[in-house]
Subunit: 97 residues, 2 copies
């Protein structure tokens, strides 16, 4: 079972390094995805929404035309947990398809 323990220090560094170009910004896992157009961006969000709902773990995300800015944190844990790392990995996989 995925831990709700907040990641910090080396554990957080290792988790971030395991992802594709995510950073930590304001205490959240952060990445900006860019697509060819709105259809590409919203297609990514539609797939991502299904992943998020299945995991019962949801992103904060901003969409402007072909760009999607994603920020992930675990609200009730007060920081970044493996729930966020796993959702980030889902999003990378979807964007890479």
């Amino acid at each position: 079972m995925t831990s709700r323990q907040v990641l910090s220090g080396e554990a957080l560094d290792a988790a971030v390094a395991s992802l594709d170009a995510w950073t930590v910004r304001e205490g959240k896992l952060h990445k900006e995805f860019t697509f060819d157009d709105f259809v590409g961006a919203f297609g990514f969000m539609a797939s991502g929404a299904l992943c998020a709902e299945r995991r019962n773990h949801h992103p904060e995300w901003l969409n402007v035309y072909n760009r999607v800015r994603v920020d992930l944190s675990t609200h009730d844990a007060g920081g970044i947990t493996m729930f966020d790392v796993e959702l980030a990995r889902d999003f990378d996989a979807i964007a890479g398809e």
Copy 2:
């Protein structure tokens, strides 16, 4: 045909007044929608995305769980136009279904 003319003054006031609880914030038509849960919020976004694509006029929108913050402006016109007012009206209709 919808005008790309930027709305200001009384024309903007009248347009905003014709909508349901939108305001002007930082030069954009602004509204925050709240739904029961993520499924409600993303269902709204999915329908809204189809409207936006059909109109070839796209929102700036931020989703956090059951909330969707929408900001509308016409980038190439440099302000709020009837394109934004019409998309706002679509969004109100979708949210009210």
